[in-house]
């Protein structure tokens, strides 16, 4: 492995992190908040680490293989989680493990929080918290869509096949252009949503924080009670629409931008996504209408907001869904597993994978009935190669196994079965608020330090689409390349 390149790239990332820390630093200075020193120390620390890595690193030999890619991605998460946690830890807001938890939850756009009295925390610190979401989100969009479509196996890889095919030098200019365009869309969404939220009655500070959270499908709010605090159908509506948008494929928006809105209806995954949103809303609305005594309007309002919040893996809360009937909770858990579209900042298994697996079952049934029939699975009118299908089947199995295994670990800390299942389902698909002990209106603060570590691993595994992180634990990865 070429460690020099890894160091060089990580150094660059730390530099960016130090730069980002300057924003809340200036804010703290302006507002005269006591956490100023924490930001100063964190920024300095980031700068020093960056300087050291930079000096050691070297970018002359520009050949990056898969192994360096994995090392950079994993190293980046390690470094950034650590640096991102520093402000929480140094300002005395959280203990070390919780600070790391909060930081990972931020950068993975999960939105699971361990802060119990959010209103009492310094504004600059909360802004940093929302910023981690936003930066994590943009990192994911650019990294996974444009640079490393190979690392997340299956769906991510599939929808942008043109990037993976041809040789490097032909692709690099196109990657630049694509990632720039994606960043523009991301930025545009953020600006528009901030504007709309301010118009709907939020302060500018709240507006930008929630916009950061929404577009990154994160879920951190500046209030303990999340969106319940505002109690405004207008604000809920705006956030819900942007959650749906943020859960869509950013590369699709790019082609809509270029070729017109017809593209939406040519996209199988987007149609499936909208179907899940509508079906989920309808089922939950009916269920809570009959069981919870809401009015028709209220039922649909809360159902729509909660369904969009969960399927886009954001995790905002407009009504305490922990007291909803078990059927509604099951639908929400199912949506957690499904997640939103590939090529977005959302987590979960992703709609495209679910759609392909569903079509595969239908194809198998047809094949049994007509044994000599050639059955194909298509997405967007294109044939899905067998290799991709096999990868998706394996991905699904691994997702479920890791889910079961991590839940077992969490149950080992003494949490109840429902609590453990809820917590892992919510964090492996980067939703955030779970059922039970870490439910809609409570936090992860009460979970033991070991449990928090398990959940951190769940968040990282879910975010890196499992295989990237698991490759690291194989001995072959660390061996020399000479035998390849």
């Amino acid at each position: 492995m070429n460690l020099l390149i890894v160091a060089y790239l990580l150094g660059k990332l730390c530099m960016a992190c130090a730069g980002a820390l300057l924003v809340p630093l200036i804010m703290a200075l302006y507002l005269g908040e006591s956490c100023l020193s924490a930001f100063v120390i964190s920024a300095l620390l980031a700068a020093v680490i960056s300087f050291l890595l930079y000096r050691w690193g070297n970018f002359e030999d520009t050949h990056i293989t898969f192994r360096e890619g994995v090392a950079v991605v994993s190293g980046a998460w390690l470094v950034i989680s650590f640096l991102g946690a520093m402000p929480y830890y140094l300002s005395g807001t959280l203990d070390f493990i919780s600070a790391i938890f909060e930081s990972i939850s931020g950068f993975t756009t999960t939105g699971a929080t361990t802060i119990t009295a959010i209103e009492e925390v310094a504004k600059s610190l909360l802004f940093w918290r929302s910023m981690t979401h936003w930066m994590g989100g943009i990192g994911i969009v650019v990294l996974f869509i444009a640079f490393l479509p190979n690392i997340g196996s299956g769906a991510v890889h599939m929808f942008n096949a043109e990037v993976t095919g041809p040789t490097e030098d032909r692709v690099v200019p196109r990657i630049r252009a694509t990632s720039l365009a994606l960043c523009k869309i991301y930025l545009l969404f953020t600006v528009v949503e901030t504007g709309l939220l301010c118009w709907a009655g939020m302060s500018f500070y709240d507006g930008i924080n929630h916009a950061f959270s929404t577009i990154a499908t994160g879920g951190f709010s500046t209030y303990d009670t999340s969106i319940i605090h505002f109690n405004s159908p207008l604000i809920e509506g705006i956030i819900a629409v942007f959650m749906v948008l943020a859960g869509g494929n950013f590369a699709l928006y790019f082609s809509v931008w270029k070729k017109g809105p017809k593209e939406f209806w040519h996209d199988t995954e987007f149609k499936g996504y909208i179907f899940f949103v509508l079906a989920g809303t309808l089922l939950i609305a009916l269920n809570i209408f009959y069981k919870m005594g809401f009015s028709v309007q209220e039922s649909f309002r809360h159902a729509f907001f909660q369904v969009t919040s969960i399927i886009s893996t954001t995790g905002f809360v407009s009504n305490d869904f922990d007291v909803w009937p078990a059927f509604s909770k099951y639908i929400l858990v199912l949506l957690m597993f499904i997640g939103a579209c590939a090529g977005s900042t959302a987590g979960g298994i992703k709609v495209s994978r679910i759609v392909i697996l569903g079509k595969l079952i239908l194809a198998e049934i047809r094949h049994i009935i007509h044994p000599s029939m050639v059955t194909n699975v298509t997405m967007n009118g294109k044939h899905v190669p067998d290799r991709v299908i096999a990868g998706i089947g394996r991905f699904f199995f691994l997702y479920m196994m890791l889910f079961a295994g991590l839940t077992l670990l969490l149950a080992g800390t003494g949490l109840s079965v429902t609590d453990s299942i809820g917590a892992i389902a919510a964090t492996i698909s980067s939703v955030g608020p779970a059922l039970g002990v870490a439910g809609a209106t409570s936090t992860y603060a009460t979970i033991s330090p070991f449990g928090k570590l398990v959940i951190c691993i769940a968040m990282l595994l879910g975010r890196l689409e499992l295989f990237t992180l698991l490759v690291l634990i194989r001995p072959e990865f660390w061996r020399s390349t000479r035998n390849w």
Binding site: F327, V471, R474
Partner: protein, 481 residues
């Protein structure tokens, strides 16, 4: 479609069931003459239908296509469940309860809705145990007989059974093999009965429980199941026999010929033993450290429950619903795994899990070495890639059906999340006993009718390996060619 052959096969199966029903009928005649109609009428009906189909329809020879085979199995299963329901229905139970009990019996699940078992006549209890035993026998037979009919490749594709090859080698002597397997099954039942008898049960108790154990069903004739006896010798016999019943019967058959060494060369059997060992230890440690029992009892209880769940029997020697959540979650996970293929267990089955795990390991290896050629082997044999594709599809559909069933149960049954998940998992894997309200198998009596119907469908889907049932409910299936 070869309608004549299908009808003929259904007739044969109906006759077998009517012979099974003769046993409780004889018992009724001897002990309780005014209840003869309960078994007399169903016996007459099934004999009449059976004779009509076997005598009246003359099958011309021919092979069954895979879809026809599926129709034979699913149709026979549903038909037999309806026939088996009749005695319960005629005895005065509501239609849904009677059907539930019959489905639960023939699928070897062991969930019961009859309520207080001490008030139920003995011949009905005997029939209940018999349904499980016949269901188990049928499952083992189907597995062997389907192979020559539809071809090994096709069968492997939808069941993921790996032992087709060994069956193929036995193909010329298929009738003989079937007979031997039936003898093995009956002999095993006889041995278990004898052991239970020696351990302190009376003859009726011994035979009903033996039938439930050999078929990995789980029906007992007492409300509190094996706890009624409070006898560790009985528990030990049950533990060992459940473990054996969860193994591959074809493998036992071959081990009889080739020596016991064959047993421990088998990848699936090794994984089965390992899984039970590992989870048994987990639960032992959890129970002991939480101060539930002393070390010996922790171990006995944990291994008993682990084996009972993995073999999808569903017996209990203690109220495990009060155990710590970690132990309960372990048991919940084990419900999905199930025992070995080629036995009467439900669930995803060991062989599939092992292949899927090996596949994941292989994928990680290939991510690092993209050009590496890798193969997956089971017991020194390479698993064909077609089969692997079928297994990943099966896994997906199994999990999907589980989720849908649990969601529906929570709606129609007004159940808590974990309780609904427990019932869905237990019915899909034909375990029976689950958690909270249904921690004992008789707890199903408290479910709403809607929940009973969903649970019944789940049992059928699980037993018929889902795809079979989905195929025959597909409209294309019934279209003319």
């Amino acid at each position: 479609m070869n309608k004549k052959l299908i009808l003929h096969l259904w007739g044969v199966i109906t006759l077998v069931v009517s012979v099974g029903m003769l046993l409780p009928l004889v018992m009724t005649v001897l002990t309780n003459e005014n209840r003869i109609a309960e078994f007399g009428i169903p016996v007459l009906i099934s004999i009449a239908i059976g004779l009509l189909l076997t005598r009246g329809v003359n099958p011309y020879k021919g092979r069954l296509a895979l879809r026809e085979g599926m129709l034979v199995i699913s149709g026979a299963f549903i038909f037999v469940c309806i026939l088996g329901m009749l005695p319960f229905w005629l005895a005065g139970f509501p239609l849904i309860d009677a059907l539930f009990e019959s489905v639960s019996g023939f699928t070897t699940t062991g969930a019961s809705v009859l309520g207080d078992l001490s008030k139920i006549p003995r011949e009905l209890l005997l029939w209940r145990s018999l349904t499980q035993w016949l269901g188990g026998l049928g499952i083992i037979m189907v597995f062997i007989t389907m192979v020559p009919q539809v071809g090994r490749e096709a069968l492997q594709l939808f069941t993921g059974e790996l032992h087709g090859e060994s069956a193929e080698r036995l193909l010329p002597r298929i009738t003989e093999t079937m007979k031997l397997l039936a003898y093995l099954y009956s002999g095993f039942t006889f041995t278990v009965t004898l052991m239970f008898f020696l351990a302190g049960m009376d003859f009726f108790e011994a035979i009903t429980h033996a039938m439930a154990i050999v078929s990995t069903g789980g029906f007992s004739i007492y409300n509190d199941g094996l706890r009624h006896f409070n006898n560790n010798a009985i528990n030990l016999v049950a533990l060992i026999c459940m473990f054996i019943a969860g193994g591959n019967h074809v493998l036992y058959f071959r081990s009889c010929r080739e020596g016991l060494g064959r047993l421990f060369k088998d990848t699936e059997f090794k994984a089965y033993a390992l899984l039970i060992g590992v989870f048994g230890l987990f639960i032992t440690i959890n129970l002991y450290s939480n101060g539930f029992y002393n070390l010996g009892d922790s171990m006995f209880n944990s291994f008993f429950q682990t084996v009972s769940i993995v073999s999808t029997s569903g017996f209990a020697m203690a109220n495990y619903d009060v155990w710590p959540d970690f132990s309960k979650y372990c048991l919940f996970l084990l419900m999905f795994v199930g025992g070995c293929s080629g036995s009467t267990v439900g669930g995803i089955k060991m062989s599939r899990m092992v292949i899927l795990l090996k596949l994941t390991g292989q994928e990680l290896k290939r991510t690092i070495h993209p050009r590496m050629v890798t193969t997956i082997t089971m017991t020194d044999r390479i698993v064909p890639s077609k089969l692997i594709g079928g297994i990943t599809r099966f896994f997906f559909i199994y999990i999907t059906v589980f989720f849908l069933s649990a969601t529906l149960l929570s709606l129609v049954g007004d159940l808590s999340m974990f309780s609904a998940a427990g019932i869905a998992a237990a019915c899909l894997a034909s375990v029976g006993a689950a958690f909270e309200t249904v921690a004992t198998i008789t707890g199903y009596a408290g479910l709403t009718n809607g929940a009973k119907i969903v649970a019944m469908l789940t049992m059928l889907l699980g037993r018929l390996e889902i795809v079979t049932l989905l195929v025959i409910f597909n409209p294309n299936f019934w279209k003319k060619e």
